[in-house]
Symmetry: C2
Subunit: 318 residues, 2 copies
């Protein structure tokens, strides 16, 4: 969400030359995505995003992410492909960091999407799953169900510092999910973080899906549950908009299909999604100074979703 | 240097409509300038910078800055003018902050300018002074000589925490400058902060002068001294490049002119410039957490310049 590494205009001009993209016209550091440094670069050949991978993205995972983006772009999806330089390389070394020059996609992220826009997002997620159906690579979900208990333990007493009783609430939920987690649903590579931030739109049209750096092998319907938890509530988790939730699921089902077993599992999967973001936000909250470069996101915004899914899950997906 | 205020795409689209600039195509928060929030906004009618004024810019000063930019743009200078909405207003209220939609200028800020580029920057500063010669408004230099002693006192013992002996060094310099500060040089409105960051270039051509939020009424040649101190040294202040310094002064003198009295005063003015940035950076250093949104700039980078100007001032401007 900030520019951690300053890249000189001279270094950017040299990079553009290596890609055969002409001369440098403008470059602005942008506040976007996970903890990478990003620049919006204008060259005589067009506009591009220059990403330097900082802490959160493991360089060893880059080949997976880049292959995934190529795979989806080859199938016509609006995802930002990493360009290849004159020697065919997608990953450079810049200022000591792995770096990619990435396609620029038009569109803006919505704060208050309409039901029509939510339906388009659901359709886009369905199209993504269709494109990924024959994607052969795998990547474990490092933030998936298997890791939640350990993550809660690492947060420790900090959970109750965030909200009294949170540790016990999380422990109860972990037990519930362990007992009720669906066992036999189809698995595939998924986006795993398709928040409104990560969907670019122009009007009712999806023009980009971005920020695939949590993509992993997981229960496929979990992706729809994550998206539902992210899109259907107000940011702070207090208000649920049934029209948005229904439009997301309908768009997804129309584009990709949703089995009866997957549909039936959505309330439990959504509890898992809400717990996942409660826990990862809690961890970040406890380990990020209040005045750090990264804006801390409120873990309670997802605890509220969790409570709502736990109390009314069937209704919310009716 | 960061995005402090999040503006929704919906609010930006409404703003563009108020300016008659068509629909919103893209918007990226950018890390630029003093402590404002800035977005690079693409509309169907072109690209613009949306600035929300946060802490450092006093809203009461905005009319001065906007009039200055209009004055210079009317005279053909590459400065970013604030646009007017359909009702003729330049200043909006957005998310509770004063905000302007500003022209986008191409070009990049250089990290290691050549002598030819420094000459172009000197010429651009001369052209700015020529354009401002008949600019009638005034704004006091709140970071000028009259305020340095008080600023040093506010830093207090913190100066010695930054570097042992710094408080005494600053006190000696304040005495020296009080005794030798030029009294009768021409005064005008100046930029006062024309660091390489604030000059956009394409090749050897200046395509933009930006960030006028320190502009004020001051000894005119002080602007050249500030620019000299900013451009002629390596960032950390250890290396001086005489070719850059000479090119800046030559470009300025060729474009605007430099009297013998102004030229003779440059070494003392440059000591003042180096002290000004030593003190303001020291203040920011002492009052900014190490992990804050804003990158702290090393005060010693300008103390080194100060020492160099004090020891060799005549030579550095020979």
């Amino acid at each position: 969400m900030a520019v951690y590494t300053q890249v000189s205009a001279e270094a950017m001009a040299a990079l553009l030359h290596a890609y055969g993209l002409g001369t440098l016209i403008s470059a602005k550091g942008i506040a976007e995505g996970v903890e990478n440094s990003n620049y919006l670069v204008e060259a005589s050949a067009g506009r591009f995003i220059l990403t330097l991978y900082e802490k959160r993205v493991d360089a060893g995972d880059l080949p997976f992410f880049l292959a995934l983006l190529d795979h989806c772009a080859d199938r016509g999806l609006p995802v930002p492909r990493a360009l290849r330089d004159r020697d065919g390389r997608q990953v450079q070394s810049l200022c000591g960091r792995p770096a990619c020059l990435i396609e620029f996609l038009p569109g803006v992220s919505l704060t208050t999407p309409s039901a029509g826009q939510a339906r388009a997002a659901g359709e886009a997620l369905g199209a993504l799953h269709a494109a990924l159906a024959d994607f052969a690579r795998e990547r474990p979900n490092t933030l998936g169900p298997d890791g939640w208990r350990a993550l809660a333990a690492r947060c420790g007493a900090g959970l109750d510092a965030i909200a009294p009783g949170l540790a016990a609430r999380v422990a109860r939920e972990l037990d519930f999910l362990a007992a009720h987690w669906p066992a036999d649903l189809p698995r595939a590579v998924i986006h795993a973080d398709l928040f409104p931030d990560n969907v670019l739109m122009l009007g009712d049209r999806v023009t980009g899906m971005i920020d695939f750096y949590f993509a992993c092998s997981e229960i496929r319907a979990w992706d729809l549950a994550v998206t539902h938890s992210a899109w259907s509530f107000s940011g702070d988790g207090t208000d649920f908009d049934p029209a948005i939730g229904a439009a997301l699921v309908a768009g997804y089902a129309a584009r990709f299909g949703l089995s009866a077993a997957e549909r039936a599992a959505l309330p439990v999967l959504a509890r898992g999604a809400a717990l996942r973001f409660t826990l990862t936000r809690a961890w970040d909250w406890l380990n990020t100074p209040a005045d750090a470069l990264v804006t801390r996101k409120d873990p309670l915004a997802f605890l509220r979703r969790l409570d709502r899914y736990a109390a009314q899950g069937e209704t919310l997906f009716a």
